[in-house]
Amino acid sequence: MIRYIFKRLLHSIPLIIAITIISFFIVHWMPGDPIRTMLGDKAPEEQVVRMREELNLDKPLYEQFQIWLKELVRMDFGESIMWKESVVQIVKSRIEPTFLLALIGIIISVLLGVPLGIVSARVHGKIMEKILSVLSLLSISLPAFWIAIIMIQIFGVKFQVFPVAGYHTIENFGILIALKDLMLPGLVLGIMHSGQIGRMTKASMLEIMKQDYLKTARASGISEHIVLNYYALKPALTSVVVVIGFSFAALLAGAVVIEQIFNIPGIGNLTITAILNRDYPVIQVVLLFIAIIFIIVNIITDIVCAFINPKVRYENE
């Protein structure tokens, strides 16, 4: 097992190198002069030159890349252009709501999606399956921002069950108020991802139900109920873990849009504000951060799978 984990970690090193390079160069691909865009056309020339020096933008690209790598090692990426604060501090302060939101989203989407998948696999070939598959298709196809606006109108404005915007930090207001703020956005996020989880769960359930050992179990006279709920569900658990791992990244991405609508000061909100204001240091760090999270989640998913299913472990060792 330890060998597997070690090997898995080793495999992610080239990927981390790749995303470091991409995060750096993506921003330098921008057309036009970033300083001019930031300061406006009327800014005096000396201010432009000074700012360019401050941000090291006057140096050749490879030197800038070296500086970026040094910053990476020291975990200090300088100051944000817009907020004049340490980039690392800014990103840190935005992590809490995003993770909490993704967590609520994942819990809701698993609670809805996994039963949806199991039931659809069970009624395979019946009309009920068609209805359920259209439902999960709807959840994938509807634009989340549109649903969010409608949900805000219904639950926030009309019935006033949930707060409609903003976020109160755990530190200052306690976990309950923080959770209440994120309930409605989490609900939207969860519903919009439950379809994908349902589809994946259904696919893996159907795959497993074809296996020979289930036929044997049925032939031995074990009731269908036990075959499905015990013999089939247990191996399906591995796939569900994969689904959850996969969805976490998708949810994190979905949170970007949801945060913007609900005005939650999270990573997504930060990304969009930074992009609209061309705050390069922040964009670079946010991109790197998101990709690293994505890789970590993938590694954890793989390890958990290997833990549940020894076959995965032995094939890769």
Partner: protein, 277 residues
């Protein structure tokens, strides 16, 4: 492939999906031919009008006719979706086939693909669109780049499967050129798998374009876009719900139709893979 097609009846999802898809296309064409309103013309006297005979879908906060704007929005969305799908598919298939066929290129190409794939698609698209600036051309570039990795990966897996078949091996032994093998043996045999991904990509492109436009990094105002119209109508939802209802419904309709076609194609063309979701 043709044998499989004959054996299976055309899937009902494909038919329903295509019918659903033609409706907005017809509405868009007929609407722009018959429209009496200018999509950009503001009219302070007729702002936030309810849907009626003169304004089929009502008017927005500055008195523009929503129906006319929706018809243009459909056209813009479909054109962007189509361009992105074509560019992404062409490049993605090239990368996928090359990396599978020429083993030496695999390491570098797949590392890049994996690297890009570590960024969630929509975030990558938002960042790229933000970097390049709003505008139709830039959205097409941003979305195409975001989808290439997935398409490359699907193509590569399908190609590897075909390469292990005996008829390809015999063609190699017979000394056929690489180009001949790729176009006569590989491309026709991977199409059935890739075409499903292409359809989903089309659906995703339209959904993502609407997100970009909604967030303000998509299509430049004042050009009507379905996502942008939802954003415009947000603040008036209590007094004028039609402003966001119709554009949102249109996006959902088109994306649902395309996803249905994708699901249908996947069952029809790859019966062995049936029930994949």
């Amino acid at each position: 492939m043709s044998k499989i097609m004959k054996k299976n009846n055309l899937n009902s999802y494909i038919i329903i999906g295509i019918i659903l898809l033609t409706i907005p296309i017809i509405v868009s064409i007929v609407g722009s031919l018959m429209s009496i309103h200018n999509p950009l013309e503001t009219d302070a006297l007729n702002k936030l009008q309810e849907p009626c005979v003169k304004y089929l879908m009502g008017t927005d906060d500055v008195g523009r006719d929503i129906f006319t704007r929706v018809t243009i929005g459909i056209r813009v969305s479909l054109l962007i979706g189509l361009s992105v799908t074509l560019i992404g598919t062409a490049l993605g298939m090239c990368i996928g086939i090359i990396s599978a066929y020429y083993k030496k290129t695999e390491k570098i190409l797949m590392r890049i693909v994996d690297g890009i794939m570590a960024f969630p698609t929509i975030i990558l698209a938002i960042v790229l669109a933000g970097i390049l600036g709003a505008g139709t051309k830039n959205i097409i570039v941003a979305l195409s780049i975001s989808y290439i990795p997935t398409l490359a990966r699907v193509t590569r897996n399908a190609t590897l499967e075909v390469l292990s078949k005996e008829y390809v091996e015999s063609a190699i032994v017979l000394g056929k050129s690489d180009i001949y093998i790729i176009f006569n043996y590989i491309v026709p045999n991977i199409l059935s798998q890739v075409i499903v991904q292409i359809t989903y990509t089309f659906a995703m492109a339209i959904l993502h374009e609407s997100i970009l436009s909604f967030l303000g990094v998509g299509i430049k105002v004042p050009t009507p876009s379905l996502g942008g119209m939802v954003n415009d109508g947000r603040n008036y939802i209590s007094i004028a719900p039609w402003v966001i209802t119709f554009p949102g419904l249109t996006i959902s309709w088109i994306v649902l139709a395309l996803n249905m076609v994708g699901d249908g194609l996947s069952e029809w063309l790859n019966p062995r893979r049936k029930n994949r979701g």
